[in-house]
Amino acid sequence: MSKIGLIIKREYTTRVRKKSFLVMTILGPLLFSALIFAPIILANTKSEKHKVVVVDGSQLFCGDNSFKNSKNIQYDFSYCGADSIAVKNTYKDSEHVSVLIIPSNIIRGNEAFLHSKVDPGDDVTSDIENQMGSAITRSKLHTQNLPDNLIEQVQTTIKVSNSVNNEHSNTDINMVLGYVASFLIYMFIFIYSVQVMRGVMEEKVSRIVEVIISSVKPFQLMMGKVIGVGLIGFTQFIIWIVMSFTVFTIGSNYLQGQLATPNGSNSSIEQTMKKGMPQQQAVQMMTHVNATQSKAANKLNEIDDDLRSINWPLVVGMFIFYFLGGYLLYSSLFAAIGSAVDQETDTQQFMLPVTAPLILSIVIMQNIIRDPHSSLAFWFSIIPFTSPIAMMARIPFGINPWELFLSMGLLIASIFGTIWLAGRIYRVGLLMYGKKVTYKELGKWLFYK
């Protein structure tokens, strides 16, 4: 076996046998899904609804026009015509209550006032604005003596059905996919690059490194470690894919089974109904059962269609490319950091500039997903240090081939560049002990013979 092969084998086998690898492989998907879905779940399970007490001086909203309660907001119209100052005083110490004061001239003034102990946030104000706005629109239309049914017709909700190149495309699914994929890449790069750094430091601190680099070139040692740890990440990824595929298959079989069995049980319902129920009632009930079933089936088909609309070979292929590319780019830099320092605490000063582009790209990912074709999204997905995350967020929405090729080409070129750079620092850093290393020093190391 070649020497670099031996190093890869050692890095791989010592890590794959660790308990932490097993634990991470099993708990990883749970952890990741928790990281991704916890904010969403938390947002949806707000324990206490925010109460908005409405004091309506205009008397426009007190009757049939009162606001509808939303998921997180409960409207209280019991003080509708009360004295605004008294109501304000009643609730002045309640944190989860705001008092909405609508002046009598709301139709002309277009302004209402919300009093709270703490700022209730954007959700509450925009919900009030929306509901009040449409109510006032309705009432303005009323004053024009338009018939009710016409007003009802004027109120319209539009759903935009998206299609790209004549194929059905679901923006929501694309967003989720982009979000999950780029977040996974971010986590992978971080976790495994830091592992590379730790591994380098372990060799340096335990002083075994000089023995090893008398047998192999420092560059071989560095690349062996980078590739070995990368393979660990890849193994973990493959296991996760297999796991989620299994769960998905079992899950969808189960769901289909659930939808199929009522067909069987239909007959039994039919029979029981035929026995006792009047014919008409039975038919009505049957239609209802069938309707619920087909609704569920439709929803399932829709999701299925949405998933099919995604160019999976491209997404998966690019995921693997950017996952490996991003990892190679960053892990070699982390290896260089590990070689330059004697202890973990010294890594901070070098970690910051290296991780800054990573963190920046995860921060602006929200914007990229919202507008995947903006110039911000373009530049972040072209620049190599941010492209693995930014490009992955864009790919599900479809991308110009030339942008993709440019981004990939630049990434590959930078990988060679950083590996060369990291190798130069690494070979000198490994044998430097007890020195507080500065950037100037690192610069000099590049030119040592």
Binding site: T14, I208, V211, L431, K449
Partner: protein
């Protein structure tokens, strides 16, 4: 005896500091070669260049007549001054890995390792993790790993520092028996006692330059000061009065059975003449030339240069 390793005019600079300034060494095959000098003199830099860990700024190294190349590492064994092992790895597994990096086949390495483990009586450690071993135990493992692939050239940087006395003795014995089998050994040290005991050749490096080199026995003769040691019975007073003219009494000690004196003979005189002078004054029981210790050789070699004898 041909030279196994030749380093010619090696220059190595770091930043503003010159670690090696035009240093050449010739290491004959089958000898123990000492690289000596105070800390910071450039010994470790030289050793790292021979191990191809760093490259010289100028000069070249020849191994067995060929220009030093990566494939030579399989014929070289190296024990650095700062030595360690992977703490979390098992002893046997780790030794196998390091042996394979030196180009050994796994099966061959396993066989050899078992032999060495038996020899050093550490068979029971095979499946222990290194962090469970004491420092002395780990040192044994490190030594085995260094010599396992039967290198033609063995390089040890400060081999006797950090080793406990029992291990140091064990290693000294191993080194001598390996030399007998034809292994060439380079070691750096500032322990002069071990130099006289085991080294055949030395180079003294001071302030980045080679200030002294040659065979240990020749150097001691070269730097001898014509001092003779005389053991005699009888009056020391009579002995003292006999030493005149061309002779200079360095010291006289009265001991229980016999007196011991050191006498310096002037350049050009013969030891026989000294004998003739002192025979009438006392009963001579012993007469021998005093050779300088290596420390004394170094001090006289570098007098004038700013070496500090205490550093040796």
């Amino acid at each position: 005896m041909s030279d196994l390793l030749v380093a010619k005019n090696i220059v190595k600079r770091y930043d503003k500091h010159t670690a090696l300034n035009d240093v050449s060494i010739n290491v004959p095959e089958g000898c123990i070669y000492g690289l000596l000098g105070p800390n910071g003199a450039g010994k470790t830099s030289m050793i790292r260049i021979i191990n191809q860990i760093t490259g010289p700024d100028s000069g070249e190294v020849l191994f067995n007549g060929e220009k030093l190349a990566p494939h030579h590492v399989e014929q070289i064994g190296y024990l650095p001054e700062e030595r360690g092992l992977y703490k979390k790895m098992k002893v046997g597994e780790q030794a196998l890995y390091l042996a394979q990096l030196k180009g050994m086949k796994e099966s061959e390495a396993k066989l050899k390792l078992r032999e060495w483990f038996k020899k050093f009586e550490i068979n029971a450690w095979w499946d222990k993790k290194v962090e469970e071993l004491s420092k002395g135990m780990a040192q044994k493992v490190q030594f085995i790993v260094t010599v396992l692939h039967q290198p033609r050239l063995l390089i040890l940087d400060e081999p006797f520092s950090g080793f406990d006395p029992i291990n140091a003795e064990l290693i000294k014995t191993e080194l001598l028996s390996m030399r007998k089998q034809g292994t060439t050994i380079i070691l750096s040290t500032h322990n002069m006692g071990s130099v006289e005991e085991i080294c055949n050749f030395i180079t003294l490096i001071n302030n980045s330059k080679a200030v002294l080199e040659g065979a240990v026995s020749e150097l001691r003769h070269k730097y001898k000061a014509n001092i003779w040691e005389v053991q005699f019975n009888g009056s020391t007073e009579a002995f003292r009065s006999a030493i005149t003219g061309k002779y200079e009494l360095v010291s006289v000690n009265e001991e229980a059975n016999t007196n011991v004196a050191r006498v310096k003979i002037a350049e050009g005189s013969l030891s026989n003449d000294l004998l003739k002078t002192i025979i009438p004054a006392s009963t001579i029981t012993g007469f021998s030339e005093v050779l300088p210790s290596m420390s004394e050789v170094f001090i006289s070699a570098v007098q004038g240069s700013n070496i500090t004898p205490s550093a040796l």
